[in-house]
């Protein structure tokens, strides 16, 4: 625990020296962050490898309760991505956001604060430090989103985020108050059996689902997520998508670990929300043509997959099926790690692209694979993993959840887990389509604009972090037995499966490794067979006889996705402007199509517009005179006192 605490301090202060240095502040920040990450990872891995669970007790009177901060296996599970991604982001930031960019020093400082708050939050097992970490995370993320505060888009994203995150915090206050009234103390620990079935338990679940779901970006509550991820600098997006939204999942996981007997419907609700987020997340991703918004919608999809796993585990916990708990919870926890790895990787690679081309619009890219081979390979690895394709890590966690869902078919009278199965299958196919679109539009074919044609590969300090993340993706995918014991420990803390089956007994992990290696071997042999005939190409692509083709005539990202978007238009409601040409000699007509966000653009925006119109009637109260404001306070105080007397 002392090691871990040191790591938090190092990470938190990593941006401070940069404030006083004229140059190389980024290097120092990255070095400190890296050192902190090594320490933190050591501490976390030691716990996951079976080391003792460490707790910290402060000697202050009201807080002198055991378990203020606890580094248990669940915390360790979430701490690993936090440290790994912070170090990678800091290193990436050295050249991605160097001192010439606006607000570079603030960015580094606050990135350290965000990483530190996250590391602090994951080990908090008391309401006070939990909320401290939570707010630290929320506020530092707000500052990070506002890095480019001269852009109206960034400002709008930032304010929406701030409102959402504080609404969520409000719900958490309520949830913790209920916990306090149920347990009599502020330590977040086990609740008595039977509590979950009471109306208070229901309130607790709903509040937690709202507060944590808002942070995690579960589907109807995701409204802040896409624009924030698009507006922030890419390594910040990587941190937010990779680890920050996972804190919502952490909250739900903690909630489930306090409740020994969650009701059946909790699991069903989690599964339903998971299926909704998963399918709609990937469907809306298909409609995007902003590279980072597309990735952001995929975060919503992956949160959905995690919820499917959690829901399955909860179902197992409430009905006493240890097999379901192990498979569901282990799948969810592993997917938390996996998603932070490949989504971090994807955002970093996307950042490289945006850096090189100067736009986030997919339709203005193309052909970057030739000019940025390493970034291209990194993005491909990320796409491969996020589509859940073997032999990378995304497959392993989805596999666990699939197996759990298949097993559950035999446990219940009604096939609840069929929702999980069909949702996962659909998500898998659509995610693959979406990443084929993204990778194809950005890296393949020929450049659609001049900027894309003259792009340069990023410097090494940006490529190495991507390399590290890609390597971890491959390791987990090829050798999942390395993480299985750690997952067992985490699940044992979370579920009611004392003496339950081990993960390695439920799934054949060596079989997966053998097949994966076999496939890699076959592919390598075939590659060797093809290699001697490969020649430098000087001929154009076969254009089916049309001689005057140009790069603008390539299939665009929007047209690639059009078939699916049209098939899903009953949820996506795509909007198109312009279009139809008419007459014998038609003039140029612009055409564009969008898929606006259903909750933000179609629901929240109009509602709040009306509200603010109403609120402007109260404008006269805001006189700008300090005295008048103070007078309001005084009058309120008096009114309260008189009300107490009366």
């Amino acid at each position: 625990m002392r090691l871990y605490f040191l790591a938090i301090l190092l990470v938190m202060g990593s941006g401070v020296p940069g404030l006083f240095l004229r140059r190389r502040g980024g290097d120092v920040a990255a070095a400190l962050m890296g050192l902190g990450a090594v320490l933190g990872l050591t501490a976390a891995i030691r716990v996951l490898a079976g080391g003792p669970v460490a707790t910290l007790v402060l000697p202050a009177a009201p807080l002198a309760t055991a378990g203020l901060l606890t580094l248990d296996p669940i915390a360790a599970c979430f701490a690993i991505p936090v440290f790994l991604l912070s170090a990678c982001a800091a290193s990436y930031g050295i050249s991605y956001w160097d001192d010439h960019q606006e607000n570079a020093r603030t960015l580094r400082l606050v990135l350290g604060l965000l990483a530190g708050s996250l590391a602090f939050l994951v080990v908090s097992t008391h309401a006070l430090p939990f909320l401290l970490g939570w707010e630290g995370m929320a506020l530092s993320a707000f500052v990070l989103v506002m890095t480019e505060d001269r852009l109206p888009e960034a400002r709008r994203a930032g304010w929406i985020y701030l409102v959402c995150t504080h609404t969520g915090t409000l719900a958490l206050f309520g949830a913790f108050a209920i916990l306090y009234s149920a347990s009599g103390h502020w330590v977040l620990s086990g609740l008595p059996r039977g509590f979950a079935a009471t109306s208070q338990g229901t309130m607790l679940f709903v509040l937690c689902l709202f507060g944590f779901g808002l942070k995690a970006g579960v589907m109807p509550l995701h409204l802040w997520l896409p624009s924030t991820h698009a507006a922030a600098p890419s390594h910040v997006s990587a941190m937010m998508s990779g680890v920050m939204i996972k804190m919502g999942i952490l909250g739900l996981v903690r909630l489930l670990s306090w409740i020994p007997d969650p009701p059946f419907w909790w699991g069903a609700v989690l599964m339903g929300l998971g299926a909704l987020s998963g399918i709609l997340g990937v469907a809306f991703a298909l409609g995007q043509h902003d590279l980072k918004r597309l990735l952001a919608y995929h975060s919503i999809e992956n949160i959905g997959i995690i919820l499917l796993g959690l829901g399955l585990g909860t179902l197992g916990k409430s009905t006493g099926h240890p097999v379901l708990q192990v498979l569901g919870f282990a799948g969810a926890l592993l997917h938390v790690l996996n998603h932070s790895l490949f989504k971090g990787l994807l955002f970093l690679a996307a950042g490289s692209v945006v850096h090189a081309v100067g736009t986030r619009n997919l339709e203005r890219m193309g052909g970057l694979g030739r000019r940025m081979p390493w970034t291209s390979a990194a993005f491909l690895t990320g796409s491969w993993a996020i589509s859940g394709l073997p032999p990378l890590n995304g497959f392993v966690s989805e596999w666990f959840i699939y197996l759990g869902a298949f097993r559950a078919l035999g446990f219940f009278r009604w096939p609840w887990s069929l929702v999980v199965l069909t949702a996962l299958a659909l998500i898998g196919a659509l995610a693959m389509a979406c990443f084929a679109k993204a990778y194809g539009a950005v890296f393949l074919g020929s450049p659609r604009t001049e900027a894309a044609g003259t792009a340069h590969e990023s410097p090494r300090s940006m490529l190495v972090p991507m390399g590290i993340l890609a390597a971890v993706c491959a390791i987990i995918g090829l050798a999942p037995m390395l993480v299985a014991p750690a997952l067992d420990r985490a699940v044992a803390t979370l579920g009611e499966s004392a003496g339950g089956p081990q993960l390695s007994l439920l799934v054949n992990l060596p079989g997966l490794t053998i097949l994966a290696l076999l496939m890699v071997g076959v592919a390598w042999l075939l590659w060797r067979w093809l290699k001697p005939v490969e020649q430098g190409g000087t001929l154009p692509t076969w254009d089916c006889g049309y001689a005057a083709s140009n790069p603008r005539m390539q299939y665009t990202a929007s047209s690639f996705a059009d078939g699916l978007v049209a098939g899903l238009d009953w949820v996506l409601w795509p909007r198109s402007l312009g279009g139809k040409v008419a007459g014998n000699f038609p003039v140029d007509r612009p055409f564009e199509s969008h898929v606006p966000d259903p909750v933000l653009d179609r629901l929240a925006d109009p509602v709040f517009r009306t509200l603010s119109l109403g609120a402007s009637l109260l404008r006269f109260l805001q006189s700008g005179q300090l005295h008048i404001y103070l007078l309001y306070v005084l009058l309120t105080l008096l009114a309260l006192l008189l009300w107490m007397v009366a």
Partner: protein, 211 residues
């Protein structure tokens, strides 16, 4: 020395405060009030608790030395010595203060508060000081006098805290002190900024910032 005697002095200092127009004198009175407040726990015979002793020392240091030091420096910088024309004149202020004190006495009588304290005047004095602080905040124009009002307001809260002094954890008390210190510190900065921005420390100018 009985605590009620000290509290009576505090009430008197309240009246003096609202009647004075000189900024330096207002600060002096606030210092005296702060020291008096610091001594009350000792007068209540609570000197045997080490944490209360610590608190007394901290309160006297912060209110008797640190804050006046900051304020006097601010005076030197902005060169303001008098509150020229307040929103509410001195006579009316005095009457309002008296009204507030009377109301406090009534309120203290009927409010459902935790009983058991031997100090009769504690609750009314706390409320009265609170009102006085507010009165100064609302009625004065110069930022410096407003800071003094804020100090007085905090003193009132502190007096309320004394009601629970034996149960109240030290963390909360030190928190209040820290809060006060930070508040004054930040206001010092703000005062300076108001001066550089508007060439005056009149808070009326802040209304120009309204959008």
């Amino acid at each position: 020395m009985s605590p009620d005697f000290l509290i009576a002095l505090i009430l008197l200092s309240n009246f003096t405060l609202v009647a004075t127009s000189r900024v330096n004198k207002a600060i002096q009175i606030a210092v005296i009030q702060g020291v008096l407040l610091g001594l009350i726990p000792l007068a209540m015979g609570l000197g045997r608790h080490p944490h209360i002793l610590f608190m007394v020392a901290a309160a006297i240091t912060v209110k008797g030395w640190l804050i006046p030091f900051l304020l006097r420096r601010a005076i030197k910088e902005v060169q303001i010595h008098r509150e020229v024309d307040p929103y509410i004149g001195y006579t009316v202020s005095l009457m309002l203060c008296a009204l507030g004190t009377g109301l406090s006495l009534i309120l203290a009588h009927v409010l459902p508060l935790k009983g058991g304290t031997q100090v009769i005047l504690l609750v009314p004095a706390a409320l009265a000081t609170l009102f006085t602080g507010f009165l100064m905040l609302v009625s004065r124009r110069k930022a410096l006098t407003q800071v003094v009002g804020y100090l007085i307001l905090e003193n009132g809260i502190y007096l309320f805290g004394l009601l629970l002094v034996e149960d109240m954890p030290m963390l909360v008390e030190t928190g209040i002190l820290l809060d006060l210190f930070v508040g004054v510190f930040v206001m010092g900065i703000v005062i300076n900024h108001i001066r550089t921005a508007f060439d005056s420390t009149d808070t009326r100018h802040l209304a120009e910032l309204k959008d």
